[in-house]
Symmetry: C2
Subunit: 436 residues, 2 copies
Amino acid sequence: MGDLDNFFYPKSVAVIGASNKFGKVGNALMHNLKMFKGKVFPVNLNENKVLGIKAYKSVLDIKKNIDLGVIAIPEKGVYSVLEECGKKEIKNVIIITAGFGETGNNEGQNRLIQISKKYNIRILGPNNFGNVNPYIDLDTSFSKLTPEKGNIALISQSGALWVYISQLSLGQFGFSIFSSLGNMIDVDFADIIEYLNNDKNTKVIVCYIETLKDGKKFMDICRKSKKPIIAIKAGATQAGQKAALSHTGSLAGEIEIYKAAFKQCGVHLVETVEDAFDKAQFLVNQNLKGNKTVIITNGGGLGVLCADYCAKNNLDVVKLPDSLIRHLDLSHNWSRNNPIDLVGDADHTKYKEIFLKLEENHFFDNVIIILSQQEMIDVYKVSKEIVNFRKRSKKNVVCCLVGIGENIDRAKKLLKENGILSYFEPERCAKVLKTI
Amino acid sequence: MGDLDNFFYPKSVAVIGASNKFGKVGNALMHNLKMFKGKVFPVNLNENKVLGIKAYKSVLDIKKNIDLGVIAIPEKGVYSVLEECGKKEIKNVIIITAGFGETGNNEGQNRLIQISKKYNIRILGPNNFGNVNPYIDLDTSFSKLTPEKGNIALISQSGALWVYISQLSLGQFGFSIFSSLGNMIDVDFADIIEYLNNDKNTKVIVCYIETLKDGKKFMDICRKSKKPIIAIKAGATQAGQKAALSHTGSLAGEIEIYKAAFKQCGVHLVETVEDAFDKAQFLVNQNLKGNKTVIITNGGGLGVLCADYCAKNNLDVVKLPDSLIRHLDLSHNWSRNNPIDLVGDADHTKYKEIFLKLEENHFFDNVIIILSQQEMIDVYKVSKEIVNFRKRSKKNVVCCLVGIGENIDRAKKLLKENGILSYFEPERCAKVLKTI
């Protein structure tokens, strides 16, 4: 089968169904492609120009080479324009048009499969919601929101989740590829995961999965993936499975089977969309190495809660070495235990001292640092020590910053710039560090 | 034993350890009491005035009646000033001073107990972090942040959590009482819960619990409570129990025992602080009546995820009656199932139609409405229909609003004003509706 590269890095796109009429999908598409760094060819039977760009009656009328076709016309017309794409030797086509397998039109869906095989066309869709590469301003969705540049690849089986995630990400994190699959008559999760192995902008892959058509292929490719993969599996319960059946027409399958399979092939299965992107952001900058976790806190109660959350996420709140306990006893009023509770009066110099002492030992993989804003502490100064500690120690670090105001905002910014995540909620620190 | 009323509704407060020195607890206390609607009497051996208010050498020098004493002087002096409070017939005393049981000074702690018994004084603390009643601007904490007015009572065993929750609540929700317990040598959870039965501002009670000294008393009083009680139990895991042991010096106990006990006495046990206040805000305006839940969505994938979250929270994604299915078949392209997936093209009139049809039936307790912002839908108009539906049907309603911009903001505001919570994250809708 052909290459997927032109779905994500095309130099020229034909929009079949491009329209001047506001409210039409083909109009929204043209707007979203205004900034595209390649060439756009609108195709419309009745218009000479679309948004000021010369329009063609058919892709066959276009003289130039077309890397990617995007079809957004009513279902009845899709078959013949797909044939035309074949004749024009367009090898990658996204079919936005809905009304195929998902509404019971299996005959129509089979016709699409036959045409694509005849011409050796790779298909994303039908019922595809959109495909974005922010690095070249490619956006074949009809959404108002275009996600920003970053290092996370999204592969979503649902348009609603596509929109949800684009809104969740606003000002928070960015994407290398932001794609939806639709009915998956051809390109599926495994194909894109395999493709992304060689995509230089992608560091982590997030999949929203309702159903896998070929579990073995998915597992084989995940096992070989060079990039960490995070999965949100919808239909994880009987109620969810029933809902997925109405939604995509395919049975979601038992979650226990998925759980075991994901574990075997090294996929991180998470509970919620937020969990997925917390972990994805973490994995862009850090690696999960192990479960041994040290908690440092300046608020006892938050340390206790965090220890609970660690245990719930299979993290080992590890015993401290005697030498470390003896050292800290010399100068601190502290908990003498992990969580290392500094009892509210520690300033940044005490944090630095503890960090230096921790580095001498190698009994831990992760450090969670809980900083509650208090009179006697400059959280920004501590955050500088945290950044230095991470640089020197190469250990995983996640922070819980409890407070408001400019000092906390500066601390958060500094941490983020240095690849360290900080949350208000201690449970998120533990979830992020959970291993497979 | 005496009444607790003067902890929460005193008319006069003596601040023992009131100070002009910035950075001292007694200085922060005086600042936090500036707006107090009653009378404040600073007590300080060396000052004639504190923050411009006449100061006294001892509470015994004050002629007027004192409802509440607040002690914030070093540990050594606490015993004699507590004796003086007894002689002055102050029946309610908050001891902010730390350095008693929590640091192993059990002898000192026992002395406090003896003095309080001798004079029949009720004690909050020692090692108390603060006690706030926003309705009379009483704030005996040394925190920078004073929580706002509302209908949730907080009882926290941890100062760090007290600060955390005050920050979490900013602009989001308010409190009737915002109190910490400290070492609980006298007043404990059960005492305050019992007291709050007759507090007109309190509609829901949230407890952050590390340890209960008298489980039977707690259960008896919770069982009789007229107000719903939500508990965050720290030390829910072995790691957390070990951490709690270092923090408060008492063993937290097995979570399974707590779980069973809470269930028996009707206490909502939640996993996180955010869950606690989501549920508290819900219970201020609505009641949990049952598990039968209808999901209405305009985005398929979000409906599937939400059905999963419902199942995980023991909510029954209930079968729709045949009459309802037949009715909706007449005019809609929809999922023919619960979640009721309106497939993106439903406007507010379709929502209204569905609401009217739902009201005719009584097969459900809760409705979760997922609204993903799309071209063809005015979310604000739908929110008006949601408010009307809730008023007419008296069913529980929670919304998941996915989108950004002015229209969504107006919808959220309208819903909130009418006691309906809306979240971005569908899992929060399901968690809020979870019954005991």
